[in-house]
């Protein structure tokens, strides 16, 4: 008698076993992963979505010139598992962001590593599991 997969008959949910899944796109091609930078400024926009959330922050560069920085963060699905929601950040929040700078300085983009909101001490990036791909 031919055998089948008994458990496949029900709605079996499977997930990748090894952590070899590739990211949505290559971060190393977009950011200098061997460098970090920090900005602090006012949050202009929080786009909580897939494939990646983005936080736009108005902050000065090293020369004091104000720019709109695009900070790339995790996908909404991934972040929601870490307790982040579309209500976590609000327009007008003053935030400090540390991350990898983009390879093209004209883009003013950063890959998020750590975020802190001084007003209430909210932070992301230094607790176990707070990461994204």
């Amino acid at each position: 008698m031919r055998m089948r997969w008994p458990l496949i008959a029900t709605a079996a949910a499977l997930t990748a076993l090894a952590g070899a899944a590739a990211a949505h796109h290559s971060f190393t091609a977009t950011y200098f992963e061997d460098r970090t930078m920090e900005i602090e400024g006012k949050l202009l926009q929080f786009m909580f979505r897939n494939p990646h959330s983005f936080v736009h922050v108005e902050a000065p560069d090293e020369n004091g010139q104000m720019h709109r920085w695009a900070v790339e963060w995790g996908g909404a699905g991934q972040l929601s598992g870490q307790g982040v929601t579309n209500q976590t950040l609000r327009v007008g929040d003053v935030v400090s962001v540390t991350g990898n700078p983009g390879r093209d300085p004209a883009d003013h983009r950063i890959r998020m590593q750590y975020l802190r909101r001084p007003a209430d001490g909210f932070e992301w990036g230094r607790n176990p599991g707070e990461t994204f791909n």
Binding site: P51, A70, E72
Partner: protein, 239 residues
């Protein structure tokens, strides 16, 4: 580690190399590309969780199809098990393609055609709309081994074989939604399309430099995957 310029093991031809050299990975930030899903030959290599459902003939209880829901990009896939033929080649293609399956003992073999063009890797190794896929699903307890044999007459010189393992989730992940909306991620002119002219891709050799291997080996396609390539590799390393 995901490094730009990693084409190792992909049996690319010259057309694929030209495509990859011109590809700028920041193209994924372009509005029209942000929500582009992975196709069936690519999705199993990315972050994924999926559910498998049976559809049975209510009268005979024979399995008509397996349906697979992938959380990433919320894609549905149907694997027809009723012996039906694949449609003509001119029928519209989809990201999941048209799949038929049959059992060989405990192994489910699935053949897929009509797959939309996409990539084998996000580093820019392209796949064409003539790609066909043969998969073998082999279960060992709670582990599902998955072997893919990809054939692409446009961009590959020979079949591209990949394998991965999946495990049954012990507790349900509550997040199966993947809402993707188009937003201006990084302010840019909407008519800008990132690309590189021939010979101008500054990142194409990043992988080779990071791991100290010859770029010819990384970009060399199928011959580099065989033991017979070792003397060539040694010569290049000693150059």
């Amino acid at each position: 580690m995901d490094v730009q310029g990693d084409f190792t093991g992909v049996p690319m031809n010259d057309a694929a190399r030209k495509y990859a050299e011109a590809f700028d990975v920041t193209r994924v930030a372009v509005l029209e590309h942000q929500c582009q899903p992975y196709n069936v030959a690519h999705i199993y290599r990315g972050p994924i969780q999926f559910r498998v459902f049976e559809d049975k003939n209510p009268a005979t209880q024979e399995i008509v199809s397996y349906r697979v829901f992938s959380g990433t990009y919320m894609q549905w896939r149907t694997i027809w098990m009723d012996g039906r033929a694949h449609p003509p080649s001119h029928v519209p293609h989809t990201h999941m393609g048209f799949s038929t399956g049959e059992w060989h003992g405990d192994i489910l073999t699935v053949k897929t055609t009509h797959i939309k063009k996409e990539f084998y890797r996000r580093s820019g190794a392209p796949s064409s709309d003539l790609t066909t896929l043969v998969e073998h699903y082999i279960r060992h307890g709670n582990v599902l081994s998955h072997v893919m044999i990809i054939t692409d007459p446009v961009y590959l010189t020979e079949p591209y074989v990949l394998s991965q393992e999946f495990v049954i989730m012990e507790r349900g992940n509550q997040n199966w939604l993947y809402n993707c909306e188009y937003v201006m991620e990084v302010p840019m002119d909407k008519n800008d399309l990132p690309f590189y002219l021939p010979g101008r891709n500054p990142f194409i050799e990043d992988y080779a430099k990071l791991y100290g291997v010859p770029f010819e080996g990384v970009f060399g396609g199928a011959p580099t995957t065989y033991p017979e390539y070792m003397p060539t590799l040694e010569r290049l390393m000693n150059r």
